[in-house]
Amino acid sequence: MTKDRRIQKLAIANRGEVAVRIIHACRELGIRSVLLHSEADQATRAWRMADERVCIGPAASAESYLNVEACVRGARAGGADAVHPGFGFLSENAGFARAVIDAGMIWVGPPADAIEAAGDKISAKKLVADAQAPTVPGYMGEDQRIDTLVEEAARIGFPVIVKAAAGGGGRGMKVIRSRAEAPELIASAQREGQAAFGSPVVFLEKYLDRAKHIEVQVFGDFTGQVSYLMERECSVQRRHQKIIEEALSPSLTPELRRAMGEAAVRLAEKANYESAGTVEFLLQDEKFYFLEMNTRLQVEHPVTEMVLGVDLVKAQILNAARAFQVWPQESLVARGHAIECRIYAEDAYAGGLPSTGRLLGTHWPEGPGRRFEVGVEAGDEVTPFYDPMIAKVIVWDESRLRAIRKMQSVLTESVVMGVETNIPFLKEMLAHPEFTEGRMTTQFVGQHFPEGLASADHQARRHNELTRAFASFAKTKISRGATTGSPMGSEDPTRAVWSSPWRLM
């Protein structure tokens, strides 16, 4: 083991709200931040907040955020001594981890070998057998011909799910319900895998039709100690993209929690894991099945931080600097309940179609037990190049029911103007009895909201006396000199925030 390795300047190979999250951790630790960004991300919150910035390439992620060489070169050019990959993009790319280390910098994340062992879904399944964790029946062979995959899908029995082996975040995943639609869906998953992760390799598994998505947060330190930081439930998903997450899960008994936690720790230990990682399981009929291991920080890490009172990003950085000891298992006791809602730039009333454009303004209602992880502010552009998640709203309260109520209230007061968001959809889901009673499965959205809010007659959408009266009143306010249109402001993407006409309120 090496001794204390000081980190003075950390490069962030990511964008959006996670880049902001890492910058916050850097500031608290007295580390300078260097943001590695694409040409499209010059006017974003992280860009303004970072101590230094290096442009690493064009908007297309393949040429910037997914380009190992460009990221390493950018980090070196910025004088960084360490690199944090955030989540998505290159965060689970062992080649990137090695390239960072080969270039003489510290990798903030698990060792490259552990990424390969646990992160690649095919080798992880072998690891899982050693760790004696149950798995779902499937096919993970090297023969990737469509015909073979269709035959294997039929053997497993429909419904079957096809997934990109290098994937995550819902991309490259499809549910196949019949043999007839299998070839096209498999080909589509292969294309998405190639486009998003640079590999067309897919695998198949039995699709459990009323399972809950439960994931265990693990953390290993550089001395080899691993603890589990309880679980999160992320059953509310659409197209395999998580929408609402919470900690702890309302569905686990203490015995099941311990069994899953210990299985996750065994798996991490077998992989010689270090730093933050997540072991995802499906839970159906009180039986759990290993799904995959994510060898990185998760989008939904804040709910774990809220109930356990820890800071996972700082822990990652300190561990990389060899200045961290993992929390002893017995010290990790959850208190209260935390919920996270992902705010996506999409039209809730049009089946969740992406909505792009310039943000006119946002208002996030601060208060006790509320946390807003925000990547874009007024004046910033929501572009079609990247993930549509623009912010996360996290609340904590003493019980699950109070946390749900708090989230409803916070979302009611949250304002995003300039792009459509899924806020109305989130509120409908939070109010659904299956959710409030904690009975939701991964089928929740598909069963109750198959077209989002597009098909139903929603009270929240209807205009009433109040909204009409407000609109006519507001119009008089706007015409009374409040308009401050600028001939330059909307054109110049490199303007500084203090000269922007698009000020946050």
């Binding site: 049009a350 509120k427 929240a460 119009k475 401050t484 249109g485 309120m505």
Partner: protein, 131 residues
């Protein structure tokens, strides 16, 4: 013309509300009582109605419902298409979306190419109804 979002104190039927308003180009955005919506400032548009937009659209034309890239064309000119059948696969924000035909017919014209970046509302495929 555009304006920063501004907060507005508003009283209605004896209750006080904090609302917000912002305008940009031909759009004005409002927020009050947990509701955010936009209205066209200049042109008349359907606002907050219950009718489906597709009812007003020509079912023989498949349009891009969002800006994005064309990934795959499922039909060639002259091919027969059933209602609800996938005609085009698009990618936007790293997700693939399948665009289905609203009508039954035959492909008359393909107005886009694989790999092309298309804008919102762009006409992608035109069908002719087979009698």
């Amino acid at each position: 013309m555009s304006s920063t979002m501004q907060a507005i104190e508003f009283e209605f039927e004896g209750r006080r509300y904090k609302g917000f308003v912002a305008s940009q180009g031909s759009e004005t955005w409002y927020h009050v009582d947990g509701r955010t919506w936009k209205e066209a400032t200049s042109t008349r548009r359907r606002v907050g109605g219950q009718g489906k937009a597709s009812a007003l659209e020509d079912p023989r034309v498949v349009k891009a419902p969002m800006p994005g890239k064309i990934v795959k064309l499922m039909k060639a000119v002259g091919a027969e298409v059933g209602a609800g059948e996938v005609v085009v696969v698009m990618e936007a924000m790293k997700m693939e979306y399948t665009l289905k035909s609203a009508a039954e017919g035959r492909v008359a014209e393909i107005l886009c190419a694989v790999g092309e970046q298309v804008s919102l509302g762009a006409e992608l495929v035109r069908l002719e109804v087979v009698v």
